[in-house]
């Protein structure tokens, strides 16, 4: 939690400082080849999955409906992406009943949190290169 709170702050500062330079360099596509995305975690690189992991990083648990509302997506789409994260061991799914209503809750696992932190480090490193470049 401390790490994610810090990242929220750091991201704002990083964006303020290097946002304009990044925009200016944004059209020079060839410079991007210097930052090889070889070790990028493709599993959470996808927007929907990145959103799910980020949302769970600041909540102990979120229900399926809460995630669906937050990500503004459909049942099917969320199910597919959640399953992929679950299969990778990044999130944990708990199914229960609230009275007679089935309830599905998701929580971020320790490997999932580490994966998000690695991903954030990777993004930070890319931005740092822009600053130094």
């Amino acid at each position: 939690m401390a790490r994610t709170a810090k990242i929220i702050k750091d991201v704002s500062e990083t964006q303020d400082a290097s946002g304009e330079r990044a925009k200016l360099r944004g059209v020079r596509g060839r410079e991007a080849t210097d930052n090889s995305p070889a070790d990028l975690d493709r599993l959470i690189h996808e927007r929907m999955r990145l959103g799910v992991v980020s949302a769970l990083a600041v909540n102990q648990t979120l229900s399926f409906n809460e995630l669906k509302k937050l990500m503004k997506t459909t049942d099917g789409n969320l199910s597919i992406h959640a399953r992929k994260l679950e299969d990778a061991g990044y999130i944990k799914c708990t199914k229960s009943f609230d009275g007679r209503i089935p309830k599905t809750e998701y929580a971020l696992t320790a490997p999932g949190r580490r994966a998000l932190e690695r991903y954030l480090d990777h993004m930070e490193a890319l931005i740092k290169q822009t600053r130094e470049g």
Binding site: A5, R25, V27, N59, M123, I127, T130
Partner: protein, 205 residues
């Protein structure tokens, strides 16, 4: 020629750099985290403590001889509650490693304080007009409004508590003046204790 120009331009339109995407991804993560996070630093046991001091204040204020003394007791209670709540909120936020003035915490503070400011201003005006009888109802009503608006960025039970304060305040405005101390005790004392216990049970102290 125009067609040739467009096609030529399209050839050189390249995807954004990895750096630009990284910025965009970090922005997306930050926005998702901020919209997903609830301000859960509302302290359950801290609220119970505030409720207990308010109940005591209601007891003392009911026995105050003058309106000035009554007001003084409640102003002292407001100051004490502010200290207790501030300490409890920062303690809970620290324990959860949540920034008090980032994201939902900031939104909570910005939504909670305007009704309190209005309450303070109206208190001065009403006392000048010798309408102190309506002050308790107005306090409860505006405090509840602040809790409801601030509670929109917190866990669900917080705005519910605000609504209860508003309800008690609204009823107090139309009831005999002699009942004011009961409403103050029931509202600032009883509701804080009741909801504080529930928040502590569900979301920690």
């Amino acid at each position: 020629m125009a067609v040739v120009h467009r096609s030529h331009k399209a050839t050189f339109e390249e995807p954004p750099t990895l750096q630009a995407r990284a910025m965009d991804n970090l922005k997306f993560i930050r926005e998702t985290m901020e919209s997903a996070a609830s301000f859960t630093a509302v302290p359950g046991w801290g609220m119970v403590a505030v409720g207990a001091t308010a109940a005591l204040a209601a007891f003392v204020a009911a026995r105050a001889g003058t309106k000035e003394m009554w007001l003084l007791v409640w102003l002292a209670e407001a100051f004490l509650s502010l200290l207790v709540a501030g300490w409890a909120i920062s303690r809970k936020a620290r324990a959860a490693n949540v920034g008090l003035l980032s994201g939902p915490g900031r939104k909570f503070a910005l939504s909670f304080t305007p009704p309190l400011f209005v309450g303070a201003l109206l208190t001065i005006v009403l006392l000048r007009l010798h309408l102190s009888e309506v002050v308790p109802g107005m306090w409860l009503l505006l405090y509840g409004t602040g809790v409801v608006t601030g509670g929109a960025f917190s866990v669900r039970i917080v705005p519910v508590m605000g609504l209860c304060f508003m309800l008690v305040g609204a009823v107090a405005l139309f009831c005999p003046v002699a009942w004011n101390d009961y409403f103050m005790a029931g509202g600032f004392g009883g509701l804080h204790i009741l909801f504080g216990v529930e928040i502590a049970r569900r979301h920690g102290g």
